[in-house]
Structures are given as structure tokens and as C-alpha cells.
Amino acid sequence: MAELAVDKHVKYILAVEKNKDSFESVVMDPLRMNGAYWGLTALDLLGKLDSVNVDEVISWILKCQHESGGFSGNIGHDPHILYTLSAVQVLALFNKLDVLDIDKVATYITRLQNEDGSFSGDMWGEVDTRFSYIAICCLSILCCLGKINVEKAVSYILSCKNLDGGFGCTPGGESHAGQIFCCVGALALTGSLHYVDKDLLGWWLCERQVKSGGLNGRPEKLPDVCYSWWVLSSLIMIDRVHWIDKEKLVKFILDCQDVENGGISDRPDDAVDVYHTYFGVAGLSLLNYPGLKAIDPAYALPVDVVNRIFFSG
């Protein structure tokens, strides 16, 4: 079986951050905050976070904060809940949460909660259970989860539960592994996992594994490395990960590497990108692949980072 080409992936991630010319860079520009989270968390899992200049990163992140307390995807863009979480997560990686005015960030997020408990992405009002997870994860990291109406947030998430035990983006929306990760993660972080039918959902999730060992996100779809995170972390949170074949999944992820140039793609032989590189490495971490730092399935941050937030000082 192939091995994880750690050095190549580290080189790839560092090069992406510096790349000046690619079309991918241009397209990524408005969501560079997400890209930073994917790249830097992957580097940390690979044990190479110190390859990056902390001060430069922190300084750039702070430039992305707006009056409202929210963060944008890059300088010169509007704030959004998506980039607010990524910013907080990256600061947590570097143990620099103290640069934040926590109340300010919390206010931005609490203002995005709607009457029915759901969360909007920003002032334009798009609602999606992704944003419920983001709000809950972000405020949990900042140790002020109580600032939102947790009960209503939970009840909205539960209204998105489907007959197959899974969750969609809004009530009635098709169960999708990405949305399921968000809903299960949010329920985990609010102590509400008892509302999940773990056997029913566990079965739906384990059925995502296809013959190649990879995982898809919905019935009858193709496997994709990113589901190695979303399906896997969901299974772990509901204690059902033994229902898939872990070895075969490891092999699938390793087959998605570009061992020449570094990086991981959605499925074998496709083009790599930093998003799939992160999810591949994170998935391997959840599968206890040797040499990787452990990652927390709910916070999507290294376990030592999470421990540092909650158990020190």
C-alpha cells in the first residue's frame, strides 16, 4: 500500500500559499480565509505548523475583521460567518485567541441567529445548517456559547432531520454527508447527541462506503476524499465508526495523493487542491494513521489545540 508523502504535501501547501500565477489562486482569493484554515490545519496535523510566519498570518487575519466583529474571506471583502469561524480556528491553531475582542466576535454571531433558531450567513439572510454549526463551533471555541439561544438552535437543527436519520441544509432538504457533519457536530458541541438516532444514521453513513473503499456523500454518488472527513467524523461522534472498513478507506485516501508533486485530490488521478489535501490528511488522522497529530471530530482542530482552549488557564 502507498504511504503518506508527508514532505511532498507540506511543500505543496506552502507553495499554494505563495503561488502568484495560478488560476486557482485567483479564484480562491475571496475565500482565502478558508484556504488558510485548510492549509494551516493540515500543516499542523503533519507536524509542520512552524514552517509558517505566525506574525504575518495574524496581522493579515486582523485586517480581515470588520466593524461588525465578523471576518471576511480576504482584505477588501464583506464579513461572513464562514470566514469568521476560519479566522477563529486559525488563531486557535497559533494559540493567539487573545488578540481577539471576544465580545465583538460573539456579537456578530449572535446577531445572525433568527427567530426560529436558525443562523444566517451574513446580513443577506441565507439560511443553512452549515451556519448553525459554524455559529456553535465558533462561540464554543470562544467559550461563550451561552450568548446564543442554544435551545432554539438545537430545535432548528432537529427540524432538519430526515426519515433516513440524516440531516439536510434546511427542513426537508435531502440528507447530505456535509450537512450531516454540521448538524451532528453542532449537536455534539451542545450536548444534544441523544436526539440523534445513532443506529439509523450510523447505518446511512456506513452505506456511504463503496467498493473502492472511498466514501460518497449521498446514495448512488461517486466517492470523494472530502467525505472521508464528513462521514468519518460523524460516525466517530455517534460511536459507529467500526461499521466501515477503515483499512480500505485509508487505502482510498492514499490512492488520491499526487506523490510526485504533493497534494491530495477528490478521487484517484484527479487534480489536487488544498481543500482535499486538508480533508484527506484529517481523515487519515481520524483513522489513526501513524505520524499524524490527532484531530477533534467536532471542532475540526487538532486535539491538543482543543485541550489548550478548555483545559489551560
Binding site: 503561488n19 475571496p30 477588501g76 439536510g168 462506503q209 467500526h242
Partner: protein
Amino acid sequence: MDSREDDGGEPLSRMAEWRDVTPLPQDDGPNPVVPIAYKEEFRETMDYFRAIYKADERSPRALRLTRRAIHLNPGNYTVWHFRRLVLEALNADLDEELDFLQRIANSNSKNYQLWHHRRWVVDRLGANARAKELNLIKKILSIDAKNYHAWSHRQWVLQALGGWEDELDYCQQLLEEDIFNNSAWNQRYFVVTRSPYLGGLKAMRASEVRYTVEAILANPNNECPWRYLQGLYKDDIKALVNDPEISSVCLKPCHEFRDSVVALRTSDTDPLGPDLSMAICDILEHVDSLRASYWIWRKNKLSVAAV
């Protein structure tokens, strides 16, 4: 017809219309973490956009500029936001906006910004936009029948603006094209449970069971109708178990397991007895080895239930 959806790509610095504007270069700070070199046209468009955005100029030329910027990078959510501000300020023709979105929909069918912008536009147009919208979504789904954004948008349109009357037929049509389409099954459930014209789940149950059983018999290896069947009996599992139509479907030997199951069947007394079920779990532990642990657990659960 200009397929590029903008002024034709002429450099803005050479256009008389833009003479009064000083383009603003990207400010990455003194030590940019991630300096990016852009293609010239992109760079120029975004420099002008930044100037207009900073000045908060909500003019017709600003509207055209956002269209150009969207064409160059449809993932730039800040441009979409500003476009909405400009559309509002100009009280622009939103039907035209829908047409613009329609023209770029195919190449942006998985773009969150595009779908959210559409929703914003349609919300303002109200019920008059309904038919056009449901039609557009059908077009997108005809290319990719599982497009998650399209389905989510469709559900929103139905709930906000109505149009339920033909939806069950539409699900039917999609399932005829591909009985494995999980999105269409999900939509079917959505319609059956929420349509104001159908009477709700209990009223629809009998006809839906018949439809689902037919689908199962045609393709027993199709995950979707099996789960759908469970959903039809949500909160009433006893009724599912006692329905003779259902038990006959579950026991009908399907192609791969035919010999094994036939060999194992003793008689027709209590066909749902623990022995047959446990034997099936044993078989599945081997033929579905990816999920061996799951089948072992299922078998244990059965023996506990039998006690």
C-alpha cells in the same frame, strides 16, 4: 449575442466612461502574506471595482462592472453583494436580472453565490416569478438531476411561492428517468408530506407503498425505495411490519441471494422469525464485508429481541 456577458473585454482604462475613476490596487498590507499576481484583465477589473465599492457608487456603470467581475470570478461574494445594493438603488428590472442569471446558470450550477442571488431576486419578484423559476430549476436538473443547490432552491420556491400542483408528477418523471435518484425520492417525500393538495402522509400512504414496492421489485439493490418505505411508516413501525405487501417484498429472493435464501427457507410458518433473519445477517457479513461489523451488530440485536 455576446456570450461573454460583459462589455466585450475592452480594457476599462481605455473606456471614456471610466475616465473619472482612479482604480484602487489590492491592499495586501506592507508584508503581504499571500500576494497574488493576476491576469491583467482580472486585475484591472477588480481595481476599478474596488474604487467603485469604496466610493459606494451605485450607478448603471457600476452594475455593468459587477457583471464583468462576476464573469471573471463568480465566486467573489463581495461583488454579488454590491450588485444587489446597486440593483436596489437603481430599482432595476429584476426580470432582466433573472435572464442574466439564467444565461450564466449552467456554468455556475454549483455556485452558492449565484443561487442565493437568485433567491434574493425571486423573493422580490414574488409569485409572478414562480413558473419561470420552477422551469429554470427543471433545466438545471435535466443536466444534473442531483444538484443539491437546485433542489434546495426548488424547495424554497414551492414553500415561498407555491406551485405544488405538478410536483408529484415531476418527481414521477425524474424517477422514471433514474429510479436511483435519491434527490427525487427525497423530493417525493417532501411533496407527499407538505403539499397542501395531497392530504398528508397518512392519506397518501397506501398509494405510495404500492409505488415504492413496485420500485423495490424492479431494482431490489436500490437503496432509496427501501429507506422511503421506512419513511412512509415514520412513528408507526408496527404498521410497517404487519403490512403483508411489505413482508412479501422483503422476502422475495433478490437476484444475488436467491440460492442462499431459498436454501435457508424452511417453511412459510412465521417467515419473519429470528432464524431466517439471523441467517441473512450471517450471509451479509460475508457478501457485504465492508460493513461486517454492522451485520454482526444487527444479528446480535435480533437475538436479544427474540428473547
